[in-house]
Symmetry: C2
Subunit: 204 residues, 2 copies
């Protein structure tokens, strides 16, 4: 987490810094990103950077976390739209990602995040459904229609969400790494989501 000093900053300065960081993380993956480059762009002295953040990663995961907040809201509205059908909501979300992704910088940022995933990055994405989190999680689980689902106990819901996000995540990565078109990516994704719904094994 950024230090308090960062949050005390005048909005203008804070935004400039974030902009510069996003630009750098869109340019190259985290491991190749340099603080030097960020502060050059933002025109702040080196010492100041360390006044605000522990290090590169601190800043990076902060940005990623902020983005997740928006995505969480999106998921909630999609669950409502699809009567709590978690798979349909996920498919819709996947579609939004592919088609609605606005500027190129944001796309590159995501691409770099996906291709050079660290566990933390993946968590930020799957944290959409992570237990022990905010009240938002409760809102989400309440929205999920368990009628559809093949679960006995409540904790099975957690496993289902783990599976859905793991597969969805992998599909994003594939989309970028194999440079699939939106249509190809969506087809592949839909096939896998249906396999998840119905089971990989034949019904007896």
């Amino acid at each position: 987490m950024p230090k308090q000093t960062f949050f005390n900053l005048p909005v203008h300065k804070r935004k400039t810094l974030m902009k510069a960081a996003e630009k750098e993380f869109a340019r190259v993956p985290l491991s190749k990103a340099s603080i030097a480059s960020i502060i050059r762009t933002a025109e702040i002295p080196r010492g100041s950077f360390y006044q605000y953040f522990e290090n590169k990663e601190d800043l990076y995961y902060y940005i990623l976390g902020e983005q997740t907040k928006e995505r969480k809201l999106n998921l909630i509205s999609l669950l409502k739209k699809h009567n709590g059908d978690i798979i349909e909501a996920t498919i819709d979300m996947y579609y939004d990602f592919l088609v609605q992704m606005p500027d190129e910088e944001e796309q590159n940022f995501l691409k770099n995040a996906m291709l050079h995933v660290t566990h933390k990055v993946e968590n930020v994405f799957t944290d959409l459904f992570n237990p022990g989190e905010s009240e938002q999680l409760k809102e989400i689980t309440a929205l999920i229609n368990k009628e559809y689902l093949n679960i006995k106990e409540d904790k099975d819901l957690f496993h289902i969400m783990q599976i859905v996000t793991a597969v969805a995540f992998r599909n994003f990565v594939e989309k970028f790494s194999k440079e699939l078109s939106d249509e190809e990516a969506l087809e592949s994704f839909t096939i896998e989501m249906n396999l998840l719904k119905n089971g990989l094994y034949k019904r007896e």
Copy 2:
């Protein structure tokens, strides 16, 4: 890929170098690993390193690839043991990983690989089933008993393998990141594998 020069090296020297590299990659994740440290341990000059490898990553993915070869053989034998039941074979493999993992260094190496996954690392793991690969893939797909599976076309098999590996992989990462005991990890994994078999959604 390492350069030819590396393969021309006397076995002794090559092994020393690999040992040193494995040690370094067990110590810290790829992004923090340093060539300087490797050559210090292996007692080879800096210039030589670049005679053998493009860079850190080149060496790293080579090691990871070598390890995959062994794992592939393991999978083949497990498929035979389980009559081509891909889920049962995967569960068995997961168990082997957890329980049979020999020395601590190998464990740390894997841990670092898992927690700081890049797309390439994940691929090395899922490449167990990647299409377009060796004849071994044919051997593996031939071994898989499609009777069990809920597939119409042959390409669905690919999707099934993607799903199984994505979920298995995620489970490994969770095991390390949440520091689960072998029993906990295995329980979670088995639940998810069964959900995959039978489907996340209720049968109508």
